[in-house]
């Protein structure tokens, strides 16, 4: 009783998720234009396929909400309000982020079923490893193995049809191939500042990982004569470092821990680039996230009192 709490901030998983999703909306709107409206206006898709980007992104969020409701109601017998059930964990946000990262050519059955199963497992495992990374890697493997997707590529029908020569500005305004809503670098930068200034992002992770990746890719671009723009802006790397690497639950939480976590992700992303460029950042985050608690503990041990 002597340590009762009388006032608390209104910050919760709900407010954090909603804020992060809010700053994703401009990217989603652009993704809808790029992979829906633009294709429809150029007669690449019909009216039904026009809304596919939104179905994939918001469908991901709905799967996250369903998983939360099923788990909380049936397994934990939690009888809190509807909003508390939906936002009992970050899975709604995970679903929408995954929707932004996935290619438009994804098979919906593979996408939604993999997402549902992985989300359910991660709920049972208390969300110990980065769910988005596990989900993306699983979808990739299942899509390739099942033969439903012959080639896991990020281009939409318009991009497959034309030959492009992209310059720096094209990357900034999102013309490059990538996930459904992850290519517009200017909007992504605005989202990054938005979630940073509202205190809903572990900025140190994004900053340190991106700095390492930029340094490594500059070196690689010089040595191997590859376009630096292509290296940095392809495979959704900047989006992943902003929204996936900073997943609250599975990343480090102390300042030293966050910087170290980001540096390790940057280094491993560069290392795995030579194995599988598409999966490199996901594998890097997945591996480092296994050690998040250890990194924090080792770097921030406090002396004991006598």
């Amino acid at each position: 009783m002597k340590n009762n709490v009388y006032v608390r901030s209104n910050r919760s998983i709900y407010t954090i998720s909603i804020t992060r999703i809010f700053f994703l909306l401009p990217l989603i709107a652009y993704g809808f234009y790029k992979n829906g409206i633009h294709l429809y206006l150029n007669d690449y898709i019909n009216i039904k396929e026009l809304f596919l980007p939104l179905i994939i992104i918001f469908g991901g969020g709905i799967i996250g909400a369903i998983v939360n409701i099923i788990y909380e109601l049936l397994i934990k017998r939690n009888k809190q309000g509807f909003t508390s059930l939906i936002f009992s964990s970050f899975h709604v946000e995970y679903g929408m982020i995954l929707g932004c990262l996935i290619p438009i050519s994804i098979n919906l059955a593979v996408y939604f079923s993999c997402m549902f199963v992985i989300f359910m497992i991660s709920k049972f495992l208390n969300n110990r490893i980065n769910t988005i990374c596990v989900c993306f890697i699983t979808i990739y493997i299942v899509a390739i193995m099942s033969g439903l997707m012959t080639d896991f590529h990020f281009e939409n029908l318009y991009e497959l049809d034309k030959q492009f020569s992209l310059d720096f500005m094209d990357y900034l305004i999102g013309k490059a191939p990538g996930g459904i809503a992850s290519t517009h670098i200017i909007l992504l930068t605005l989202a990054f500042f938005g979630i940073h200034f509202t205190n809903n992002n572990k900025t140190a992770i994004t900053t340190s990982s991106v700095i390492i990746i930029i340094i490594a890719y500059i070196a690689l671009a010089i040595v191997k004569d590859i376009s630096f723009n292509t290296l940095l802006f392809s495979n959704n790397i900047l989006f992943i470092m902003t929204y996936v690497a900073t997943d609250s639950v599975t990343s480090c939480y102390t300042i030293k821990g966050k910087i170290t976590y980001g540096i390790l992700i940057g280094l491993l992303t560069f290392g795995f680039y030579f194995v599988k460029p598409i999966l490199a950042p996901y594998i890097a985050i997945l591996i480092v996230s296994l050690f998040n608690n250890l990194i924090d503990r080792k770097l921030n041990a406090i002396p004991k009192t006598n």
Partner: protein, 388 residues
Amino acid sequence: MNNNMVSIPDGFHLDNKVHEYLNPDYLYIPLKEGLSLSVKTNALIYKEQVLLKGEGEYIYSPISGKVMGKTDSMKLNNKHVECIVIENDYREKVNKKKGVLRYINEYTKEEMYKLIYKYNAYNGILPENPKILVVNGIDPDPFEKTSSLIINTYSSKILEGIDAISSILSLEETYLSINNHDSDNVINLTNNIGTYPNITLKLLPDIYPIGFKKVLLKNIVSKQYKEEDILYLTVLDIYNIYNVLKRKKPLTERLITLSGNAIEQPMVINVKVGTSIADLIKNVCHVTNNKYYVVANGLLSGKTLTTLNNVITSETRSIFLNTIDNHKETKCINCGLCNSKCPVGLNPKYIKAHKKADKTKCIHCGLCTYVCPSKINFKPYLGGNNEE
């Protein structure tokens, strides 16, 4: 400025008026070690007459009336304490009128210190040779309004008091810090401070816990000054010192914030030191929700009182009648806010997991518990003020 501190929205609306409850039926003066009763049981006592006396230490009677004897039914900070009971005769009889003695700037340092200690104007030890004076006009808890209302009501006395201390001690720098959101006081002080060129007004942002001594000093005092160079006083200390220097009025009354979501009209109220909290609530508060808890010295950083038999002392800043926060604690989401917002750089999550970890730096502001999105209560793990 520490950007990690948090802006906390105002919880309660208090009117700009100092209320009074100066006539309780009984007063309970806690007995202190080394002090003995200087009047006999059943004797009549004047207001401001010495009640308890020790070596260079005096406790004065806040009211006139009859000394009833000792009781051990009262508590001080939830611990049983023996108290002297005084029955109020409601006459406020004073033995002799002291009047204005001398111009307050004319005291010497030794005289001033002697008066301050003799009349209990300051709880603590003043530094021998201070070089800088920092006056805290910001309430430590965001839901307290005592300091703000003291400045609002007694600004000329506060400025005069600060000026006197500054010139008596020949200080190099003198700061009066207030909240920059406190617009009435900002206007009031900026209009009047020109008369006192030796006082620098520091406007600080409305962020928590800027009103805590350690945090405030870190934000105001440059590193060239050592701890022993700094004289730190609150505006209430200044008000008490002013009364001592001007009228030799001992500390027998205390301005406190009386607030919370379970009372109809939150207020700043002047009460006698030794008033029981039960009396105060019974006679002053219109309780709107009976499921309240009583919290002393801040809703965020304060301590829940286990009984209404606690007494108000010179160290009581506020009393809150508030219902408990019913948010259910959930699993930590690793956001790190407890760590990043801690004003002294502690890691509450680590301390919670490692009970032997050093937490001596903790100032018990309660910010980690306030900001936690998982509604984890860190207070029991940080020890100190909140542990019995």
